[in-house]
Structure formats: C-alpha cells, structure tokens
Symmetry: C3
Subunit: 211 residues, 3 copies
Amino acid sequence: DEIKAFAREIVEREIERHAADGLGMVDYALASGGGRVLRHSEPYGFVKVAAGGVWLMNRNRVSNEAEKMIRPSFGEPGQCFALKGGSGFVEIRLRTAIVPEAVTLEHVAKSVAYDRSSAPKHCRVSGWMQGQDSTDLEISNAKMFLLTEFTYDLEKSNAQTFKVEPAAFNLVNTVRLDFTSNHGSATHTCIYRLRVHGHEPSPVPAMEILI
Amino acid sequence: DEIKAFAREIVEREIERHAADGLGMVDYALASGGGRVLRHSEPYGFVKVAAGGVWLMNRNRVSNEAEKMIRPSFGEPGQCFALKGGSGFVEIRLRTAIVPEAVTLEHVAKSVAYDRSSAPKHCRVSGWMQGQDSTDLEISNAKMFLLTEFTYDLEKSNAQTFKVEPAAFNLVNTVRLDFTSNHGSATHTCIYRLRVHGHEPSPVPAMEILI
Amino acid sequence: DEIKAFAREIVEREIERHAADGLGMVDYALASGGGRVLRHSEPYGFVKVAAGGVWLMNRNRVSNEAEKMIRPSFGEPGQCFALKGGSGFVEIRLRTAIVPEAVTLEHVAKSVAYDRSSAPKHCRVSGWMQGQDSTDLEISNAKMFLLTEFTYDLEKSNAQTFKVEPAAFNLVNTVRLDFTSNHGSATHTCIYRLRVHGHEPSPVPAMEILI
Ligand SMILES: [K+]
Ligand SMILES: [K+]
Ligand SMILES: [K+]
C-alpha cells in the first residue's frame, strides 16, 4: 500500500510537470506571454517577392515563421523555424526584464523525427538590456554579455536546459542565440524552441534600506 | 512483478486521462464541440476603434479573444480571456441542452505562471434554457438558476471541478459565470477555461411508457 | 528503492512517449511534416456556394477541413474531418516515398466524446507511387495495392495501429483509406487522424553492389 501510494505520487507529479509546458519552469521568451522575435539570420526556404513581401515578413523584416521558436511544439515535427546554413542567429525580446538563470533549447524528439541533422550543435546565448523604443536594432557589442555556451546533444532528452553562469546574473530584456554548427545538414538549421528562465528583480524594499 | 504490473497500470490510466483533455470528462462548453460565447463584461486591453471594430469584435459584440475560454490552454500562460477589473461575467451557449452535473474552472499552472493575481476568486455559475433564435440577449433573471458557487483556490490543482447542487439538475443550454473578486490584480481577471459537465437527457422511452 | 527506481523509469518512459505525438512513431502523413490531402469523398455539412466556393475548397476540390485528418487532435472532440454517410474514402500524399510498415487510425477518446457512432468501422488502406506532377488524380487501380484491412474497435485504445502485410512492403508515396461502414451514425463518419508509419528506402549502396 505504501508502494502504491508512492507510485501514484510519482505519476501525478510527473504528469503535472508534463502538463505544465513540459518542464514546469517559467519561460520569459514565450510568445503567448509577450515575448517576440526581433531579428534573425536568413531564413531557409524564404521566397523573395517584390510586392507580396508583406505577408512573408513583418515590417521589421522578421519572418512570419520565426514565432514558431517561441511557441510550444507539442511533439510535432516541423513546428520549428528553419534558418539557412549551419550557422546563424536569432534575437528575442523577453516579456519583461529578468535576471536570467537558465536557457532551454528544444528539438523534435528522436522517436518522431524524420531527420535530426538540422538540430543546432554548438551554441552561445548572450543577453543585454535594450530600450523599448530603440529603432536601431543594431546593438553595441559592448552591452551584450555571455549567458551560457553549450552543445546540443542528440543523445539526451529533446529539451535541454543549460544554467547561466553566476557572473552573468545581470538584468536583461533581450537575448541572442548564436549557433556556429549543426548536426550535419548542409542546407539549414531548425530551432524548435528557445526558452529563457530566471526571475524578475524584486522591487527595492525602500523601508528596509532606510532602517 | 505484481508491483510492476500495478505501477504500469497506474501510469497508463493517468496518461490516458491526461491525454483525454486533462480530466477525461465530457465538456459541453468546448468551442470545437459547438460551444460559443454569447456575452461578457468589458474585456481588458480592448482598443475602441470606430470603423475597425469589426476585426476586434463580432457583430454580437463578443471579443475575438473570448473563445480562448472555451478552448484548451495546453499549459501555456496567456491562453486566456482577460476581463477588465476584479469582477465581471461571461455567458456561454452549450453545444446542446444538458442536465448539468459539474463545472470546471481552470487557470494557468503555478509552475509556469508569471503572476496569478489575475485568477478569479469568488465565483457563481448559473444556467437556463434560451431560445436559439432569441435576438434579445437580455435574459430574464426569473429563468436563471444557480448551479454552483465556489472559491477558486490558488493552492489546489489548476483545473478545479465543482459539483452542481442536485436541486439544480434542470435542463440548461446556456451558462453564466459571475466572478465577484480575483486574487489581487487591480486591473484585470483572466479566465483560462470554463468547462461544463453533465448528461444529455435520455429520449423519452415511448414504448415503456405505453406498456 | 529498487521499486522506486523502477516506478520512476516507467513513468518517465511513458510520458516521453506520450509527449512524442502519443505513440513515439514517425508519421509520414503528418501535415507539419509535408503530408497533404489529395482527394476525398463528399464532406459532411459542406455548403455549396457558387462564387464563394474558393474559401471552402482549394482548387483541387479538397475541403479546407480535410487537413484536420493529418494534424494532431490533442484530445479535443471535433478536431476531425467529417465525411457524408457511412462509407467513403480519403487519399493522402506522404511527405516522401516510404516502405509502409503500419497505419494508425485515431478517433476521439471515449471519456471526452459526445457520441462515437461516427467512428469508422470496417477499413481498408491501400498505397501506390504517383508522379508528383500528375494532373490527373484518377489513378489506375492496377498500381494500387492493399496495405491492410481492419476494423476500428470502440472498446480498445483510441489510437489503433495496424501492421502492413509483409507482401505489401513496396515503395509508396500515396495512401488511400476506404471505410465501408461506421459505428452507427446515419449521417456522417469522422476521421480524427490517419498516420502512416514505415521507413525511407536506403540509398542504394553502389560500392557494395560493384564489389
Ligand atoms: K515550436
Ligand atoms: K484556453
Ligand atoms: K486531428
């Protein structure tokens, strides 16, 4: 009976976590939470159309497909943003400024994938604070700092979480993922989902400071 | 071995229930099943536009966002309908007339939520029968009766089911949720999902009655 | 402790499979993977409009609803393609040519269904290779061969997988489901999802052949 109760407890906890966006961790990059894609390198399969470009890219020249990176994939192959070549980048404005603690890079699960050679391999995630009304999307590298550097491993779980270096516990509202290689595809690299975890800074407790 | 079989059985049953819309209970308010939103109090963040109102509200003055309340949330923060203030109401036409047995109010899971102060707190669900061709959406209070009154508890599971009082086992095709308080937000209240459970009345067994 | 580890292992494996499109099997018919509906018998509830037909059917006279058959259902009743009557057919172009090994027919789960009389009953799945630029959709029956013949059983799991006869391990890029009966509905039959499993043919190992 003790064992039965224990088994039931594990099952309920794990299903609850699965139901809570798979990881049960708050994601500040999520589109439905207010995250949005600011920029990216050249998309794969992008059709250049003179006049009709309007429905393929919004005015900031962000592909309409790009938002797939900040939406759940629900186990479906193809629910990703495909970028041209084996290296590239994406920049995401978070829903609010946070102190970043971890990032998660997700690819499609092995058991349902047609081909995983398009998964990113060597990656670097950076962050910085950027003004909301910044019309110039070119940011100065001086403001950007490294959050974490990692290799996405095809043999591990399909959603892989990487801790941010404590040295980088500074406020950011924008993050950038640079991938410098993928798992073999000569033509493109797919980003299924990028999540950014952390905490919002506490409002300064003015009373305590004064006392 | 007996224990292994038992563990496997629990796991399969719980995953099956999770896969069956989370609760494994028929929902007569669900949009894909034919439910629809008839009316609601003022939406939060609604932009009043003279001419362009057409794409923000349909002709019955129902916000296009309102349907989110009768669609699954899939663990995503933001997949809700936000109403202005700490009190308000929504009215939903069910797919068909039923004898109501329970209602479920769902909010986003704690582990992935940015802030849960917008969750409804004190709630009242009422029901009645309304003609399909009723052009006047103002219903007479005389026809409406209470199904259940409850408090949404932030410490419990995120989808909370409340039984309908046996005294209210009468046929309804329309339900109304009134919330009179929320969990702290001064600006808005979010409804992630409202489900209505029950059974369709059996067709009168004419033969048996005659015999 | 051994038992605890075992329970945890089962839970993790089963949730992983559930998260991997429910079955953890590659599906070559999936819309997000490149599958598409080529033809089908008369849809149920199809409104014939002289001029406005454009938004109800695409130019190949495929209903816009048809794609629901090759998309996940996520436990929602209503996420299906409804065809008129108790018999009919659908034809699907796979993402690529494969050697078929199994097909899965899915209906809505019993616990959340309003009515399951619209589920298909006696079914036959056939396959063949069809040219990509074939403008004539009428295929010669000579090219088509049977993959499997089965009965969808309302008492079993809602996603039922049927093996392809080894005699039919031939390359196909198109499949056809014929249903000759349903579970009782006089008006229509619903296809929630049809999946096609198998493997892509290995590229011919030219060196080995030469040696
Ligand atoms: K995605
Ligand atoms: K929802
Ligand atoms: K479906």
